[in-house]
Amino acid sequence: MTEAYIYDAIRTPRGKKKNGSLHEITALQLATQQLEAVRDRNGLDTTLVDDVILGCVTPVGEEGANIARSAVINANYAESTAGFQINRFCASALEACNLGAAKVICGEADFVVAGGVEAMSRVPMGSDGGAMGVDPEIAFDHNIVPQGVSADLIATKYGFSRDDVDAYAVESQKRAAKAWKEGRFKNSVVPVKDQLGLTILDHDEHMRPGTDMQSLGGLNSAFQALSEFIGLDNVAIQKYPEVEYINFVHTGGNSSGIVDGASAVLIGSKEAGEKAGLKPRAKFRSMASIGSEPTIMLTGPIAVTEKALKKAGMEVGDIDLFELNEAFASVVLRHMQAFDIDPAIMNVNGGAIAMGHPLGATGAMILGTVLDELERTGKQTGLATLCVGGGMGTATIIERV
């Protein structure tokens, strides 16, 4: 069977939502510039690229009508390169990579560019509507609650206090700051250009390096007031009746930031790489997606990690580095608790709490991050995974070559 390799992995810097630098840049431009960079950095003849797969969670407005295809045309890829957009919520871009790898493995494609785009300051989260929280058949009958309530349910059920989640957030900020300071992202972050072609953003602007326990401690719960007002906590408890009450620990400070950004990963077969004169950096060892209990919603990374490990014939101990998207601190804390993972190998360069989570783009970003870090530290095997809305999980295990 053909194997799938990563030849390049890049991302934009992440622009913050409020007064952010990327607010005046279209989603199409974010995606286009990523496609251009993949092509230009690698001197890639795009006639070799069969398809472009972009994750996007809010595919309406400027992100609607298959933004991947628009970006392919706009980036002046070969006319023969196709393009499509997918939505697996927060794991969309990792799923795009997995799909791209699958296309290569099964022989459908030689090269695929996979990634994602989300301009959250421009196309607000939730503006695509959807039955999940609105139609009583799903929302009422299946006890669907907003993710923040699920995150607080995880903290309650698995015993993480406000201090625990805040301490995690402080560490995320510290690690991200250090990583930027040491230039660990410099090879992969492609600055975003404005309408004149001048750089408008070259760093993650959501970060707050000075964050400490005290500054975080002053923040109010992000979900308690609404939750108690309309009874969301009760809805969650009806699914988890062993819980007496929800301990609302998550705030804006220990949850992922709302940002703009895009990402792209060049995936291809060994032969395609040789033909293009490119050197593979890593190989896909296994990929998986799963469904999990939708009310607690965000525990999917556990099951999908198990599944991906099994498919790869590995054990937790075989993974040198983990990247688990920091949607909420409790998600990562629960994952480390479940597998007894050393915090020193989890999200070593910080994550979405510090740098932000552009929903449809993040998956490919953390895949790139784990690959960069494997190379920097000379380690071999990394696992990237994300919790997903509606109760799902997606994971990818890669191995350096």
């Binding site: 609105v134 009583p136 009422f140 969301l232 009806q238």
Partner: protein, 733 residues
């Protein structure tokens, strides 16, 4: 036509008057609906008619809603059909109302509703199918609403479609979900109606509107129609739907299909045109009518309660009589409450206590409650003053010479009660009845102090009196039918629901509710997580968890009863986890319940309560590990079966004789899962056979609480139901 008259005036405006003969109120029956069809056809076809005004010939009701007793009849023929055939047949039958109302609003001529009085449910739905609604501003009893969900039904005459199209989904949910009824001013402010006017001018004004609007069309039949507040995928509208699902789940725990289906009717209906919306509504209505929850709730909460409220339990040969004056002895919390509700009902009350200060304090309670009503604009000051003036505090027993009834509400002390009985009877008329508000002492024993034991009865109020709707009448060995009848006169006059039960320890309600609390303790001792017990109980439909309930009634009260039982019957009589836990709570931990801020819960100053972490001590073999904790479904059975079995025992022993009283008593008395229709409807719905099988399994693992009486075994064998075997109700179809 029997129910409607049509008078065409010189302008060609037809005045359609709804006035059902031989009925106190106008209600919507199949016959009435048929005539509305005829009326509609006349309006549409008669060229002399330019438009119409619909009003009522009754002062008390425009139309009080559908005749729910008739609803069962449509199931008659459907019983033998396959599920799909039945659904199709019911749908066809139930859609008739939509056909008629829809043709009314599309008849091509303007139609106005002159709402002179109460218009509820189907009654309001008729008016929603009119182009204009004007309601009387001077009828204080005029209420508008769609309260169907309260009895397990949904507004199936287009209400779920027209109301949100008129006033928006948010306001429509607000009215439909909790059966809220509003007055004319509120209805005008919300946009349910267009205008208000004094009753005398209603028809005239309605006619003027009809004359001025020959081309009237419903908003939803106009091209530019937009849903007020937006549909489910309008940015603002979506907020409503995202909010309503958790709010309703929080309140209903998913146990009430009416509320659930109303949500879908509105959600799905607002995304399509009105005709498709009406079809969607009718499909959910059809689904709902086939759910046991609807049938059981209609029966118990509406029909049976209504019958009992009209003294349906009155013994044969006894007649209704007036209650003009009573004496209440003992002006404590119970006595004060009884005096208050009696005065509210127009009864003169002598409130008697040992000293005048105590009696005055009892009256002050009424004063406080009345002041609340005035400040909430539920009553004017003059009326409140008149009510308060009916209560006369006194220490003088001679006031009892002209009372119809005495209610004794002193401490649960046999000697004290005996003394008071004698003192009262010295002055009471021969035909006056003495009622003792006891909750624990057998009535036959107390009646021994009476010189007229045939006129002695137990009148068991629940606390707080002004909020609890049930009253148990306890019949002692010598209590006469006359005394029962008089007590019924009293209880129905104060607008509470009476049930008649025989004399036994705990009577009926407390006996059953004890089984509920005991199961809470039993599960605790088995190592079930306290939060899981409490949450599962609420998920099963109980208003509060068993541990919480024990805290409310006070742990030391239970403790005292145990100690008394031990003293009376010896130490063997108090075996079991409940006794052990209650004794430890009081003796070892000084946890007496909410009253001292610590019980099964810790109560903080800000009103929050949290389960006491020390409860794990009561798990005899330790708290079960997480994967061995029982499911909520299992706990629901444990909790509901224990109560239902006790009720079945009460039926077997003849403590309660009428299943309607057992069911209504269970819902009103201790809040037994109302969606079930009550304790016996719960068993009937499961089926005696299946119920006994499951109870036998539970008895093996969980003790004698699940031992069914022989009666139930016999019923299982014969395939009987409680209503089939004991029912007095008029059989539907």
């Amino acid at each position: 036509m029997k129910h409607f008259t049509i008078d065409i005036d010189k302008d060609g405006i037809a005045l359609v008057t709804f006035n059902s003969p031989d009925a106190t109120m106008n209600v919507l029956s199949p016959e009435v609906l048929g005539e509305i069809g005829e009326v509609t056809k006349t309006i549409a076809d008669n060229d002399a008619i330019k438009g119409a005004v619909i009003t009522s010939g009754k002062d008390n009701s425009f139309c009080a809603g559908a005749d729910l007793s008739g609803l069962g009849s449509i199931f008659g023929e459907a019983a033998k059909m396959s599920e799909d055939e039945r659904s199709a047949a019911l749908y066809k039958e139930l859609f008739k109302i939509n056909d008629i109302f829809r043709s009314l609003e599309t008849c091509g001529k303007p139609v106005a509703a002159a709402i002179n009085a109460l218009a509820l449910g189907g009654g309001l739905e008729i008016t929603l199918a009119c182009h204009y609604r004007i309601a009387a501003s001077d009828n204080p009893k005029l209420k508008l609403g769609l309260p169907e969900a309260m009895v397990g039904v949904l507004p199936g005459g287009g209400g779920t479609q027209r109301l949100p199209r008129l006033i928006g989904a948010m306001n429509a949910f607000d009215l439909m979900m909790q059966g809220k009824m509003i007055n004319a001013d509120k209805a005008l402010a919300l946009g349910v109606i267009h205008e208000t006017a004094p009753g005398a001018e209603l028809v005239e004004k309605a006619k003027a509107w009809v004359k001025a609007n020959p081309d009237a069309k419903q908003p939803w039949d106009q091209e530019k129609f937009r849903i007020p507040g937006g549909g489910p995928y309008h940015p603002k509208g979506a907020q409503t739907f995202m909010g309503v699902a958790p709010m309703i789940r929080k309140n209903t725990y998913g146990n009430y299909p009416a509320q659930r289906y109303i949500m879908s009717c509105v959600y799905e209906g607002l995304q399509v045109d009105i005709d498709a919306g009406l079809r969607i509504e009718c499909r959910y209505f059809t689904k709902l009518m086939q759910r046991p929850e609807s049938r059981n709730m209609i029966r118990s909460i509406f029909l049976s309660k209504q019958a009992l409220d009209k003294a349906g339990a009155r013994p044969a040969g006894q007649k209704k009589g007036p209650i003009n004056k009573i004496a209440v002895i003992g002006a404590g919390f119970m006595g004060a409450g009884i005096a208050y509700v009696s005065a509210m009902a127009g009864i003169e009350v002598a409130l008697v206590d040992v000293d005048i200060a105590g009696a005055e304090k009892g009256k002050a309670f009424a004063q406080k409650e009345l002041a609340k009503r005035v400040s909430r604009k539920k009553m004017d000051q003059a009326k409140a003053d008149a009510i308060l003036a009916r209560i006369t505090p006194t220490t003088d027993y001679s006031v009892m010479k002209d009372v119809d009834l005495v209610v004794e509400a002193v401490f649960e002390n046999r000697e004290l009660k005996a003394k008071i009985t004698k003192m009262a009877e010295e002055h009471m008329r021969e035909d006056a009845v003495f009622g003792s508000n006891t909750s624990t002492l057998p009535i036959s024993g107390l009646a021994e102090a009476s010189k007229r034991p045939e006129n002695f009865i137990g009148i068991h109020f629940f606390s707080p009196v002004h909020k609890m709707m049930l009253v148990e009448l306890i019949v002692g060995d010598k209590t006469s039918d006359y005394a029962i009848s008089r007590a019924l006169d009293f209880v129905t006059k104060i607008k509470k629901t009476p049930i008649v039960v025989s004399d036994t320890r705990g009577f009926y309600a407390n006996r059953c509710v004890m089984r509920y609390i005991e199961q809470g303790m039993a599960l605790l001792s088995e190592g079930v997580l306290p939060a899981l017990i409490e949450n599962s109980a609420r998920m099963a439909g109980m208003p509060v968890g068993p541990l919480s309930l024990q805290d409310e009634v006070a742990i030391d009260l239970g403790y005292k009863i145990i100690k008394q039982t031990e003293a009376d019957l010896g130490p063997d009589a108090i075996e079991g986890p409940t006794a052990q836990i209650l004794i430890a709570m009081v003796e070892k931990y000084d946890r007496k319940g909410r009253k001292n801020g610590k019980g099964f819960y810790d109560y903080s100053e800000d009103g929050k309560k949290r389960l006491w972490p020390g409860l794990s001590e009561f798990a005899l073999n330790g708290v079960l590990p997480e994967d061995e904790q029982p499911t909520p479904a299992y706990l629901k059975e444990r909790i509901l079966y224990a109560q239902a079995i006790e009720a079945a025992r009460c039926m077997a022993e003849g403590i309660v004789k009428d299943p309607r009283e057992a069911d209504v008593g269970s819902i009103l008395g201790w809040g037994f899962a109302p969606y079930t229709g009550g304790v016996l409807s719960y068993i009937d719905t499961i089926g005696a056979d299946a119920f006994v099988k499951r109870a036998d399994e539970l008895a093996k693992t969980s003790g004698p609480a699940y031992a069914v009486p022989d009666l139930l075994r016999e019923m299982a064998k014969n395939g009987e139901t409680f209503y089939g075997r004991f029912g007095k109700e008029k059989k539907a179809a």
